[in-house]
Symmetry: C3
């Protein structure tokens, strides 16, 4: 049996020791766990960004992986701490504020439990750091073999994040930028599936008032410094500047409207 | 026996390969070591910040963990390279400039040795990178089972960092901000213990000229955008803005005075 | 046999989940692999910086380590995906755009193969993320024991990055800054070997119009706030400000000329 994998996604940043502390808690409970950082650079409290990044990643981990996501502006309030089990026996652990649901849906939700059983939390649970005191120890106990239904009662409702949906228009699809990555690439909420009704060669993309951008295969299909639209590694439409930064050159960011037209 | 854990805390940042190189050195000596990053985002040369972050973390790691802390503005000078063993058989390794002492005291200092035995250092010790050439190999040899007293002679004196202490005042306690975290939360040097003489419900906090802030249980006890004071996850008084950034809104930072009054 | 080590160096940053996703792919293929981050902070598309950082690190990892370097502005174009085996049975995996060669040369190149055998790639290779779809799975299959020659045909030519070379001058050596590290230290392309013809005590360094800086042993040989030149941990000439930031104080950066004179 390979060692259990626990991934961590938070908005804690890496200049404090918060993430390292969570890892200490995990290893104290399950010494053999493999801990992988997805990212800790989610903007403070940005549940939608956390949900999208988590969803983009979970399909690339082996069955049995435990994903912990702590973007938790309501820590210490009444929001439920949650564990979701999905069909390829993957588990997701975090606050029930929407951050877990898109990833869980992508994998196929089996069932969820509320993390009420305090014997699987640290002995002293602070009201401000449930990543350390609740979510890390629950993930570690899961990794150590505690069955899902031990952590608390079944939870019927799971919160959804407010991710905007694309809309079909007369001549194509209208959506928006939902994430800007490190390269300044503009990732949209328009998926390859949303565009499947149109011949790919007929499609062009309008954003931020610039001239229509033809849909290409990859960044290097255009010359350096030119804009390009591709179906990117998320399986969604993405606008990039080759060897540049599309967000900067277009003055675009999250929420910028994107129109795909079939001509 | 679970594999040995080595944590790393430095001011090296993560845009260079310095931290990765330390890990290569460790794995070349002790292949089974588990290496955990506490943080590499300590401001360059900031011994006090390194000491506080290390102290906040060590209690959450299992006994036997080896903590390496390299905030070392005096690298290559005569400051002593140090190894401290503490009561739950935890070790701390780093320069004797104050960065190790608060964490070691929190765990209970057993004894310390100066790292003079060069057979446990790399063969070529550069004068500018003891993290790679001295501290990483010593930690790895420790993890591989070399006893503490082999690394050098007992060292009687351990340097202290200049962390400001809170002062009792007529109607409460006066302290200051000692750390600003990623969320802009203002962590102070006033601990829960410093306030134990007063009824919690009587306490209010003054900082940076703003109206007194009542002590609450958690961030979400106040409305979004309001200031809140809590005993945070460090066990110390912390001033935060719910869903916001207290450091920015108050123009406060390290050294800003904080007064707690009992009324 | 110790578990295989795979290092990762990219320009992906850590605010997205790209690096975490690569790790998921690796662990799905080779569950026992140890994954070490060298850095993910290379500037977007900066092949020279990636090559220098990789070269600075590889000598500190044990034989058998697999280094993956993905600084890949030409992803999806015709540049060859490459695997280089070096004399101490170390492997380097990445695009053939120059990022791998200096490290491979430092270790001693044995032979290289082009990564054409798609059974060792993910089933669906996107045109924009070969780190995930090609390089991570190849590294993981290597770690799991697949022999080098299975991954594709021998590749005779390996690209070189355009790293500037130092030049001998009448009274010394002229070079330039090739990297600025987190501390603002200015790392140059002038190695200890380039200066071996001159008595060390005779050497002084001129940069950015400042008064000549004597070559010293370590940073703390000068007073706080003074400039100092040392042979740094890369084995190359480095200009630093003790307890300060030489890049900032000198207004210097990559490409700034550096003259070493023997007087």
């Amino acid at each position: 049996v390979p060692p259990p994998i626990i991934t961590l996604l938070t908005d804690f940043g890496t200049t404090d020791a918060y993430v390292g502390i969570m890892k200490g808690v995990i290893l104290g409970i399950c010494a053999e766990a493999r801990i992988i950082d997805l990212t800790h650079g989610v903007s403070a409290g940005d549940i939608v960004a956390g949900a999208l990044l988590l969803r983009s990643a979970v399909g690339y981990f082996p069955p049995g992986t435990i994903h912990v996501a702590v973007v938790d502006p309501g820590v210490g309030s009444k929001r439920t701490p949650l564990l979701i089990e999905t069909t390829p026996t993957t588990c997701l652990v975090g606050p029930d504020n929407g951050v877990l649901r898109p990833a869980a849906q992508a994998l196929g939700i089996e069932h969820a439990v509320a993390l009420t059983r305090t014997e699987y939390h640290l002995a002293n649970v602070s009201p401000t750091f449930h990543g350390r005191d609740v979510f890390a120890p629950v993930a570690a106990h899961l990794a150590a073999g505690v069955p899902v239904d031990r952590f608390g009662p079944v939870c019927k409702h799971i919160e959804s994040p407010s991710i905007p949906a694309p809309r079909a228009s007369a001549d194509g699809v209208t959506g928006e930028v939902v994430h800007v990555d490190r390269f300044g690439n503009l990732l949209t909420n328009i998926t390859a599936g949303d565009l499947s009704a149109f011949p790919a060669s007929s499609l062009s993309v309008s954003i931020a008032g610039c001239a229509p951008i033809p849909l290409a295969g990859t960044y290097s299909d255009v010359a350096s410094g030119e804009l390009v639209a591709v179906i990117g590694s998320w399986g969604a439409l993405e606008v990039a500047e080759r060897d540049g930064n599309a967000a900067r050159v277009l003055g675009a960011g999250r929420g910028t409207a994107v129109h795909v037209r079939s001509v």
